[in-house]
Symmetry: C2
Subunit: 355 residues, 2 copies
């Protein structure tokens, strides 16, 4: 078809409306693989300071947009801003990862939590959204985001990243009411947080369920998916016609795509273990698919990256409804020249699929 | 049905022949959660010494059989014995995990490798198998095992455990011939290793594809599954009628069960993310299913463990063809009283499903 206004490509793909090329953005596109990001971060001092300083967070949000022909910007922030605002004492040290000084492990601790007020407690995020929108000036849309309640709960209960999630799972198994109360508080928090992001100007919303895939099918439904459904219903209710399109991404959730797609979301993120051709057959008539190149492919030689892009485009096939992305966040040691190649090649090679 | 001889329950389940109760064994059942294991390991000095001393390896193989009513023993050993015998200089330190002094990263290094001779280079394993068979005296069958070529390659190329497998994947992307040569050498090694284990007395064989699930569907087929198929064909060829039943287990491979089941194996291992009811519908008429309780459930209270066993048994449903197990190895900090409960409850609650 004729050329789509670049500012519309991503949002039209989410609505599965005709476009000229497959849009692309990259999870963690504002990140350590970019020298200009490292410079801004050095200026900020530490990671959280960077998140909490709207001018700097805006700066790094825009960096990949200035360098590459990306079709969307994503707010530079962290999924753990919500528990941080709840008073859990977040620190994020390079190489160590996030840690909470006050993990939430007892019924009492859970019942003491309350949903943060987005403007009062997380105003720096809304300010960043407003700044970015103003700076972008309509060039590309801005994606806001939050962590899923289950994913936030894993960090809050474990107190840090985990290998086997035994502490949070033991709470889930032995104190299901406490776990549900925690997830409920988090779902309410995410609803008001994403509502505020939308009101501040976010044009699409993504929910990162990074750790939903460590659950059984039944526990995923009960402890992760149901709260994401609740969030979507809550956003429908709060934002009505103005509710931006929502993308859900459960890493490791390839077996449950039908359920994820049935939540009322507009897009489903796919990690690289999912065959996108099969995924389209399973859910692609209902939602847009986002993904799903193995992030490690960006370490490969150029011709191999080009080959992989062609395979993924071909597997998805003709027509709109695909947003190209990696299947997980970009690694910090990737050469940014590879990212430029990827973005350009996706645009170039996808044209025949949108005739 | 009437009581099955306990020594036959596991092997009959693998053949999907009628039995009286669902058999159970537990991945890493000979391990650190047992005080008697820790005592023997202390006596041995270190983990590899324990693997390489047939009397001690036999001792720890038998420990869980003496303590619990398990339906199978599994050889105490490590998947990395093959690369160790290839001269890569394996060390296994607690808390650090396995490390190779000489990782295999170049084409030259790969082409220098040759398949170890099982009796000459891995004789301690065969000696352990013979000792265990003699000590077991037919009480329960003995499972031998090996790592899948892909899984062995990840450790050999990375030099240690990995989070993102970028080194081995870069070899796979950029030097596919070198990667295939390595996997080919490993497949040949596994064929002769498992043939020797069978000849020494192993009555079932398991192939652990611990890291197949980090691949895309296409790369899984090409770099992991095809070599496991080759191994099964090789064992058919070597052992003919005497070829023991084979269980393949790709952790994270729930999306690809049909392919795994089509290799000619008798059993497919399921991790806990797989819905065993759906798995039976997908492949259960062709193979036995092994699994698949979340290992973290053994941290839960007794009633919750019992409830979960009942759910899994019910989801599998009536008839033979299910070997109960965890969906991954048992954690070292589990209370062994929970293991006793699990084993007994599986036997007790499964009776109605075998009427």
């Amino acid at each position: 078809m004729e050329s789509t206004n670049k500012s519309e490509r991503f949002l039209r793909a989410l609505q599965r409306k005709p476009i000229d090329r497959t849009p692309i953005w990259i999870m963690r596109q504002a990140g350590r693989y970019l020298p200009e990001y490292r410079a801004t971060r050095a200026k900020a001092g530490d990671f959280l300071k960077l998140c909490k300083t709207p001018e700097l967070a805006c700066e790094v949000t825009l960096q990949p947009i200035q360098r590459f022909d990306l079709d969307a910007a994503i707010l530079f922030s962290d999924i753990l801003t919500i528990p941080d605002a709840m008073g859990l004492g977040l620190t994020v040290d390079e190489g160590v990862g996030p840690r909470f000084a006050n993990p939430v492990r007892s019924k009492d601790a859970v019942y003491r939590l309350s949903a943060p007020d987005p403007e009062a407690d997380l105003g720096y995020v809304m300010e960043t959204v407003r700044l970015v929108r103003s700076e972008l000036d309509g060039r590309v849309p801005l994606i806001g985001f939050a962590g899923s309640p289950w994913t936030l709960a894993t960090y809050m209960v474990e107190g840090q990243s985990s290998k086997d999630f035994s502490v949070v799972k033991t709470m889930m198994f032995d104190q299901p009411e406490t776990a549900h109360r925690l997830l409920q508080t988090l779902a309410q928090s995410v609803i008001s947080y994403l509502t505020a992001q939308a009101n501040a100007g976010a044009q699409a919303l993504m929910i990162f369920d990074t750790w939903g895939g460590v659950l059984t099918r039944r526990d995923y439904d009960a402890f992760s998916l149901s709260y994401m459904s609740q969030i979507i219903a809550g956003l429908d209710d709060q934002l009505k016609e103005a509710r931006p399109p929502i993308i859900l991404f459960t890493k490791g959730g390839g077996q449950w795509l039908e359920s994820t797609a049935a939540t009322g979301c507009e897009g489903v993120g796919l990690d690289w273990t999912v065959d996108i051709k099969q995924a389209r057959r399973r859910i692609g008539d209902r939602v847009c698919l986002q993904g799903n190149m193995d992030p490690n492919l960006l370490y490969a030689r150029e011709h191999r990256i080009i080959e992989e892009v062609e395979i993924i485009l071909q597997q998805y096939g003709s027509g709109s409804g695909h947003v190209f992305n990696l299947g997980h966040g970009i690694h910090p040691t990737i050469d940014h020249a590879r990212v430029k190649l990827l973005v350009d090649v996706v645009h170039e090679l996808s044209m025949p699929y949108h005739k």
